[in-house]
Symmetry: C2
């Protein structure tokens, strides 16, 4: 059986949990208290030298870090990753957009607000991060204005990757009122079969 | 013929140029002066609403942004992307590492030093970015200590993606003396057939 090393409030981990649920694939869930350094132990660094969760461990012990690589690995050959070459590249394009232009500005503010002390100096980062977060949401809004899903008009791991932190963006201070196409798309994702919520504990 | 919209000093664009050269694939090269806003025109935003280069345009006009998506699209079915599922996921894992944990801390300092005025307030970002850049280099050093290339002991787009900004890291203030395995790997990449340099102008 595969094992997912994760932290329940992580949107990056949630990407894997949502897909695993939709694939109806059983897995062992190991929660690490990343705020207490559990992803920085020598034992965990042997699984991922970059010290980040999630990490997917196969039954034979091989480990795969990076949420988007985990999504791709699990989705290959399924309905969640298109078979056509250009469509696959477009899925990857949106995974890259999420990691580079979205996550640091949509997810990180949520982390700062939810998990750091109220007097953390990192609060000073919020205005600039939220400005870029709104730019990322605007790119999504423009794309979704004429589309039901991000790629090839069907639900894919591109939608899963972008849904994970977008649907909880208000937690970090990014309100979604100004992005109606994004909100309609969030509702379509949440209506997919096998949907689970971010804080649904696997196996609970 | 395909077209690459790019900026010559961009390591992200160079990833595509290096692979295109190694695939011996002809292409039209369109250089945009991104420092003067050429990637923010309505015309270019129609190609990539996120306003970033590189963008690959197919002969039929379809456009693909994001350097790693371009690498993947071009490499599918070639020797530069492994056929085995777990190896492919490992390639993607390193592409994600590059975008999230490496590029902002290795490439952005180089951009600040080379392209912003000496009195730019963004110089204040350098110490923190360089600290995280050294952490990224250390992850690479650890991985390469026992390997010739990043995945499956053969040259792939994972190496191309990480080479692009690592080999010019000293431009931004990250010296490579402390990373001998990284330096040996850089030499192996530069010895690959079809290698071109970052500032080699395509078609020149």
């Amino acid at each position: 059986m595969i094992t997912l090393y994760d932290y329940l409030d992580s949107g990056n981990g949630y990407k894997a949990r949502l897909l695993l649920s939709q694939l109806a694939m059983p897995y062992r869930y190991v929660e690490l208290d990343i705020l207490q350094g559990a992803a920085r132990t020598p034992q965990f660094l042997a699984k991922n030298p970059n010290g980040t969760i999630p990490v997917l461990e196969l039954a034979d012990g091989r480990c795969l870090p990076e949420s988007d690589a985990i999504l791709w690995y699990l989705a290959e050959g399924s309905a969640f990753l298109p078979a056509e070459r250009f469509d696959r590249a477009q899925v990857l394009r949106w995974l890259c957009f999420e990691q580079y232009s979205h996550e640091p500005y949509v997810a990180t503010p949520r982390f700062i607000v939810r998990h750091l002390p109220a007097d953390s100096p990192r609060r000073a980062e919020l205005p600039q991060r939220l400005t870029r977060g709104r730019a990322a949401l605007q790119v999504m809004e423009r794309h979704l204005a004429t589309r039901a899903f991000f790629v090839a008009e069907r639900y894919s791991i591109a939608d899963i990757a972008l849904y994970a932190y977008t649907h909880v963006a208000p937690d970090g201070g990014l309100e979604l009122e100004a992005y109606p196409s994004v909100r309609n798309w969030l509702a379509r994702v949440a209506a997919q079969p096998g949907y689970v919520r971010l804080l649904d504990r696997p196996g609970a």
